[in-house]
Every structure is written in C-alpha cells, then in structure tokens.
Amino acid sequence: MTTKIAVLIFCVFTFTHMAQANTESGKTHLITMKAAKLDSGQLAYQMVTHKIRDASGQTEDITHQYSTEPTIPGPAIMMTEGDKAEVTLEQDIKGSNEPVSIHVHGVHYKMDSDGTMKVFNHTADQAAFPGKPYTYKWTAAPGTAGTWPYHDHAFGNPMLGAEDKGLYGTLIINPKGGKVSAMIDGQIKQVDLKDIKREFILWMHETTFWGMELNHLANRQVPLWTNPTIGAREDELVRFHVIGIGTAFHTFHLHGHRWIQPGTSHLVDTVNIGPIVREAFVIKAGEGVGPGNWHYHCHVLQHMQSGMMGGFRVIEN
C-alpha cells in the first residue's frame, strides 16, 4: 500500500513537472514601460525596453521596433503561448504623484500582478509611483492565445484607471503552433503567422478609432492615431485586431471583406465591440473584390456620423 502511494505521488509529481516543461517556451520578456503625459494632456504608455531572454540565458533586444514616444494606443506587446513576461512600469506623468498601473487581460498572473489598488484588492497597491516602479509577472499559459487589452487600473479619482485618457494598449499572444485559422480563397485554412506581414490594431473609443500598425516588413510599430487609413498590397495576408474601450458599444464593419469568427466557421463582415471586447481576424487583402479604398467604420449610425471611420487602402500588385 505504502509503495503504491509512493509510486503514485512520484508519478503525479513527474507528470506535472513534465507537463510544465512541455508548455513552457523558456522565453521571458523583460519589459520596461512608462506612463507619460502627451502635450495634449492625454496620458499614454511608452515602451522603454523590451528584451527577450531565452532558456539558454541569451537575450535579444527588440526595443527598436517600438515608437520612441508615448502613443495611443500604447505599445503592442507580442508574445507566444508558453512565454512569460516581467513588465516593469514607471510613473513618468509630469506634474502627477498619482499611482498608475497595468491591468492585463487574458494571460495568467498572481494576485500581486493584478494592477489594482489596495482599496479594491484589499492586499496592496500594485501600481507605480514617481520614482517607484512596479513589476508585473505574466504567464502566457496554454489556451491564452488571442488579442488582449491591457490598461491602467489605478490613476485618477476613484483610482479605477485612466483608460479614457489614453492609458491602454494591446497584448497579442500568438498560438504555440504558430498558426491561426482564417477563411482564405473560400476555404478555412491554417495561416502561418510568419506569412502575415502587416497587422492593424484599431481601438474603438467613444466615436474615434485609434490605430497602430505592426509592420513586420519594416519590423516597426507605426502609430496611426485617429481614424487612420490603413494600407496593404492586394493578396497580402493581414491581421486585424479590433478592441473596444470606454463606455460606448460599437459595430465594426469592414467593406468588401469578410472573415470567420475565431473558433467557428461563421462568416461575418461586422462584429459587435463593447468595452474591452476584442476580435482578431486574418483576411487576404482585396480577396475576390480587388484593390481599392475600402471603407471601415463603426456601423452605429451616430458614431458613423461623428466621423468614426477610415479607409483600408488595398494597392494593386
């Protein structure tokens, strides 16, 4: 009996240990960001350094990919299932001593990385103060692949965060297998992420799109600000990440293109986006419709009338 239990315990231990080893990539993202004030008085996150340390201890510095200034939306952090991140936030908001934090969605983290204040979490202030950075630890555990928002959850009164002022950004967790499903040429296919050269991030806030392009050809994140024109060449595979923030509910619509809702074979060309709701999808630019200045907009009439729109410029090859 004792032996059996001992074997069982051993097995469980080994299995668990092995399982962990299998799901971990060994990569750790060492990130330092700051929260800063723009000239306009809005607040924004800025990447300070982003290094990736692999299992052997070697590090790769990818900081150059980011904008050198604070942007709305904030830096898009890209990880892969199995990666971990240590994200240090600095409070660099001119003229303010208030706490600022990062509260992330989707990935796993321990209680002390929640990014909330003691008044709400009854444990401790998990926020950066001027001269006192705070470090959050995230695990992109199996099953967390997807596009997620991160945002401040501490600034302002009553310390619930300054999303409305611009403190939000995008976290993209790519699946471990490196493939995402998409409707391409009339069939659901597994698209290799390496074949995607342009990604468009569009945040829907009140009646404005705030954009950012991840351009893998130039290896650069390009801030696109408000209601931008996004561009690609015909037949290129591009990925959209559409995320809501604020209080308004939206319907994102892209002309001339359709996509499958993640995890389904359901084809759509419009999607409901409420606050912090997101949708990521891959399309082939101009598929079946050709080049042109395709329109994208919020289909809530009043939002549309208030200029919540932009162009998707598909250039002929």
């Binding site: 004030k37 000239d39 306009s40 008085g41 809005q42 904008s67 050198t68 200034e69 942007t71 409305d164 002022k165 342009r198 468009f200 009140e206 009646t207 404005t208 799109f209 954009g211 392009e213 351009n215 050809l217 130039a218 650069r220 390009v222 801030p223 696109l224 600000w225 408000t226 209601n227 931008p228 024109t229 996004i230 561009g231 690609a232 060449r233 604020g246 209080t247 308004a248 009043q302 939002h303 009338q305 208030s306 200029g307 932009g310 410029r313 250039i315």
Partner: protein, 604 residues
C-alpha cells in the same frame, strides 16, 4: 487663466517646430498606412463650472495650436449629452463650422488651418465655452484674426465691439476668479498683458480689463414670501458636482437656507417649480438626467427620478398639478404626476431634434409652449390632447418662453437672434399657433462701433417672463449684461437696465403693499437684482452667498439661473393656492404670505 502665462510662452516659442513623432509613413515604401490626425490638444467637456471645455494640461478652457495641428474635443467627463458647435471662427476657415446636429457623447477631432480665434459651445448648454487659438508663429502677437464669422451667419471684424465683448465674456465665463463677487468691494477684471493680433494690429489683452464698484443694497420695500434661486455653480463639501438652491427671505432679504443635495450629488440644478401647497420644490439637474423633489421647509429629499438627458425646466399645469419637465437634450417634455414622488405618465414629443428648454404653460391650462433650442422653432402643445404644433420661427437657439396672463401671446427669447437680427424675441399667437413678429432687442446698438443710441440694447437674451399684469416682458440678456423691458402694447424696448455678467434667470414676485418685483440672477455674479416694476428701476441687489457656511468650498452664491418666487404671481396658479386658504391645508407661513397680498395681487 493659467493658460494666459502659457500664451506668452507660446508666442516666444513661435519658431518651435512640429512634433517629432507625427506621421512617419510615406518615407518608407514598406508602410502603406497613412496616420490620421494626432490631437496636439484636447478639450474635455465637463460639468465643472467655468471649465466646461477643459484642457487636461492646465484646466483652462483655451488651447493654443499652430496651423495644421489638430485638437480633440471629447465628452468623457460629463453626466449628460451635448453638442460640439462652433460659436465663432475666422471667416473662411477650412472645414468650419463644426456643428453636431443633435446631442450625444460623440467626440470631434478637428484640424485647424487658418490662424485666429475659434470658440466652441454646446447648443443645449450654450454658455459652455471652449476656445482654440490657432497662432501663426510668424506673426506678432496671438492671432485672433481679421474677420470672425458667427454661427448666425453674421461676419464681424475682429476689432468690432461685439467681437471684443465676446472675447471678454469668454475669459470671464471660463475663469471663476474673474466672476463678480459682491462680497468684495469691487469687481476687477484684470486681464494680462498678452499681445493679440487683431486685424494685423497688435493690441494687448489687458485693454479689455475693467474695474467696477460692487454695491449691494436691500430694497427699501420688502417683498412678500421668499425667492428660490438656483446658485448652479456653488461647490459644496462632500459633493463632486456643482450647484445649490438658495432660499431668500424677501422680508429681510437674507439667505434663509440652501438646499445642497449632497447625498444625491445634485448636478447643476437649473430651474424649480412647486406644488399648489408650496410643500415640495421640484428641481431639475440640467447637466444630468434627474428631477429631484425636496421639502421646501426642511430640505428633506423625497425623491430622485431619472427623466431624460439634460432636464432643464419644470412647471406644473394649474388645473391638475401635473408636472411637465423639458428634456433639453431630447425632443420631448415628460408629463409626470405631482406630489412627493413624481412618476412619468407620458412623453410629449415636441418634434425632431427640438431640444426644448424653458417652456411655459398658459394660466388657463390649455396650452404648453416650448422654445426648441436646436430646431429654431416653438412648439404649441394642446394639453387636453397632448398634440403638438411646431412653428418654425427662424430664431437661433430659442431658449425661453413666457406668455401673457390671458394666454393669448407668448414671447420666445432667441439666444442668437433671428438673422439678420442679432438679438430678438419672437412673438407667438398661442391659440392661432403662428408667429406674429420679431422684436429687435438690440435695435439701438451698433455691433461694430459699440455705440448705444437708445434703450434697445440686449444681447444674447435668456429668460423672458411677462409681468403678471401683462404690461411688460422682462428679459435677462447675458452678453450685454442688461435687462431689457419690452412694452407689450407696442412690442418695443422701453427700458434697459444694467445687470451682471452672465445675466440669466428672471421672474416676478410680490411686492409688499402691492405691485411686483422682477428678480434677475446672473451666472457669473453672486447677487440677485431686484427691479421695481412700478418704477422700472433697480430697487436693490441682494447677496446670494452665505459667508458663514463653511461647507461652501467655492463659487459662493455664484451661478444664478432659475428663479422661483413664492407665492407664485401668475393668477392661474395662485388661485389654486388661494382656494386652499383657511381650510387648514396650507402652512401658517404660506397663509401669512397670502394674507399679505393685495386684492390686485390676488387677482380678485
């Protein structure tokens, strides 16, 4: 006003180049996207007095940009809906005017091309002011422009009297330290020495400075009863939102009490009404969605009901005591039961995009008349059938209506006139449901030179009650800071009296021994003006602030808007109260007021 010092810096830094992190595409063939506008400045619309368009950098209502830069105006800091609308802009400016058709929470991001002054407002709350100055770094002084275009279509030289008045008013309205505080010996509008470029000439902003003595005076003859005034900008400890209702005893002209609505966080209380027993005060929260009901004497809150976006005015129908609440950011008047817990019975549509503001009910209870701020119309609603007839008037922002005691004629104040008239009242035949004519309130004013050649000098009219004897229309004019008095027999301005900056609310109360007082309250001052209607003269100025009340944290007595004098002077209402007299239905205090009235005041 923090901005003012910054403006100097902005001018000194004229050579400063654009932001280093603007559009990066175009230089790189790999990137095919074209960035949209990046706001170089933001104005956040708020419920905070004076700071209705607030620059998050320094809290001012004015931002300075260089040509080609963009500003974003957004509404993430307010409890109700607004429009973002250009009030004035440099004539010929590209992509102007900006005007949102109906109230919402929508933001605007706008690029500015032509140097000069751009003032924005909200058509629902038309004293919310924010400004963008687009300054060409290569010219001397801060660019105001050459010719300014007003939302009414009028174009005026930037050096004209009207343009200067608007500029000074902008600074006074958006700078609480420049409001007229009657607890101090003088009113000092001291503007800093900032060079302005007006039509190519450099003029200092300080040229618009002025000083006036503050003289309070209690009227020699007391009134009967009390006057409630919405001191809409007063800030109270424990409350995030602004505003109180101040109760004045007209026997000694002192403040009796203030209803503060701390628990409810009452937000910008704008206008009040009461029931026929004078037990309840009904209070609209104009920058919010609620109607509050509180006890007139104890100040206890009975109820708080969500009625719609930006409820502006509330009034009852004399015959049945039903309440009618104008939904200023909507297109309806909500009909509610009276009592301590009003409950909505019906929504009376006033027409598409109407935004009714200060409505009126005829004393015979037959009709309701609404001034439709966004539609340039007046609606006459038959209260027996609740059917609406919308009458286009050509007025720009019709904001308040009142009528003659016999219910035949209504006068609608058009805040921005009836083009080409700069300032006007529209006369309406109520039963005939038609417009009769416009009265020019500024016939004796030259907007370019500023010369005033007679009594007709009233700019930006707001509340406009008709005297209980039907003889006069008294109008509070917010820009000229004058009260105009129109003789209803001739429909001409017969008198113009000085009031305060942001002159706004007006209504009549009983004068002891007979006759009436007109009470006038002003947004950017803390006095209540008392006008003797027998003499058409100012009888006194009464302080609305309570200097002993330590819970008032700012703007003591400021923000004067809605006025409710009790007893109500209109005979159609008063007779319902008089019917209850001597039957144990009224409080001894109210019985005392009624006993003090003359037969003429009682309407018998």
């Amino acid at each position: 006003m923090t901005k003012i010092s910054k403006l100097t810096a902005a001018i000194l830094m004229a050579g400063f180049s654009g932001s280093s992190w603007a559009a990066q595409s175009g230089v790189d063939d790999l990137i095919l996207s074209v960035p949209g506008l990046m706001p170089s400045a933001v104005l956040e619309m708020s419920d905070e007095p004076g700071l209705w368009f607030k620059d998050p950098v320094d809290g001012d209502a004015l931002v300075v940009l260089k040509p080609k830069q963009a500003a974003m105006i957004k509404m993430t800091d307010t409890n109700t809906e607004h429009t973002i609308t250009s009030l004035l802009w440099p004539a010929g400016a590209e992509n102007f005017p900006v005007d949102q058709e109906k109230p919402s929470s929508a933001s605007v991001t706008q690029a500015f091309d032509k140097p000069g002054l751009y003032v924005f407002t909200c058509k629902v709350h038309p004293y919310m002011f924010g400004a963008v100055v687009v300054d060409d770094p290569d010219t001397k002084g801060l660019d105001i422009g050459k010719e300014l275009q007003l939302v009414t279509g009028a174009k005026v030289p930037a050096s004209s009297d009207i343009a200067k008045r608007l500029l000074r008013t902008f600074f006074v309205a958006t700078t609480p330290s420049l409001w007229r505080d009657y607890s101090k010996p003088e009113w000092d509008v001291s503007l800093p020495d900032i060079p302005l470029n007006i039509e190519g000439n450099t003029i200092s902003l300080s040229a618009l400075s002025m000083t006036m003595p503050n003289e309070l005076k209690k009227p020699a003859t007391p009134g009967v009863g009390e006057v409630w005034v919405n001191t809409q900008f007063e800030m109270i400890e424990g409350k995030k939102k602004a505003g109180t209702a101040t109760r004045i005893n007209t026997g000694d002209w002192n403040v009796v009490s203030k209803f503060k609505g701390v628990k409810e966080d009452m937000n910008n209380p704008h206008n009040m009404w009461t029931d026929k027993r004078y037990q309840n005060i009904y209070q609209t929260a104009w920058f919010d969605k609620k109607l509050l009901t509180f006890d007139r004497v104890s100040g206890q809150t009975y109820s708080e009901v969500v009625v719609g976006e930006s409820p502006s005015h509330v009034i009852s129908r004399p015959s049945d005591g039903m309440l009618y609440v104008a939904i200023n950011a909507g297109e309806q008047v909500v009909k509610m039961t009276g009592g301590k817990n009003p409950s909505a019975q019906k929504s009376i549509n006033t027409g598409p995009h109407t935004s009714p503001h200060g409505h009126y009910i005829t004393e015979d209870s037959k009709y309701m008349v609404t001034p439709n701020a966004l539609a340039g119309s007046v609606s006459v609603v038959d209260l027996n059938t609740d059917t609406n007839t919308e009458i286009p008037t050509g007025g720009v922002i019709p904001i308040a209506v009142w009528g003659t005691p016999n219910g035949s004629t209504a006068y609608a104040a058009n805040l921005l006139g009836t083009p080409p008239l700069l300032s006007s009242l529209t006369v309406i035949d109520i039963p005939g449901k038609k417009k009769l004519k416009d009265i020019n309130l500024a016939a004796d004013y030259d907007p370019v030179t500023g010369k005033i050649s007679g009594e007709a000098y009233g700019l930006l009219p707001i509340q406009t009650p008709v005297s209980p004897d039907g003889k006069y229309v008294v109008t509070a004019n917010t820009l000229s800071a004058t009260v105009t008095i129109v003789d209803t027999a001739t429909n001409k301005v017969v008198k113009s009296l000085p009031c305060e900056p942001g002159c706004h609310g007006a209504h009549f109360g009983m004068k002891k021994g007979g006759g009436y007082y007109a009470y006038v309250a002003s947004k950017f001052a803390n006095d209540l003006i008392v006008i003797d209607m027998d003499k058409l003269e100012v009888a006194g100025r009464v302080l609305l602030s309570d200097l002993k009340d330590g819970s008032i944290t700012a703007h003591n007595g400021m923000g004067g808007q809605g006025i409710l004098p009790l007893p109500i002077v209109e005979h159609g209402y008063l007779k319902e109260t008089l019917k209850l007299s001597g039957k144990g239905e009224l409080s001894p205090e109210v019985e005392g007021w009624l006993n003090a009235l003359t037969p003429e005041q009682k309407g018998i």
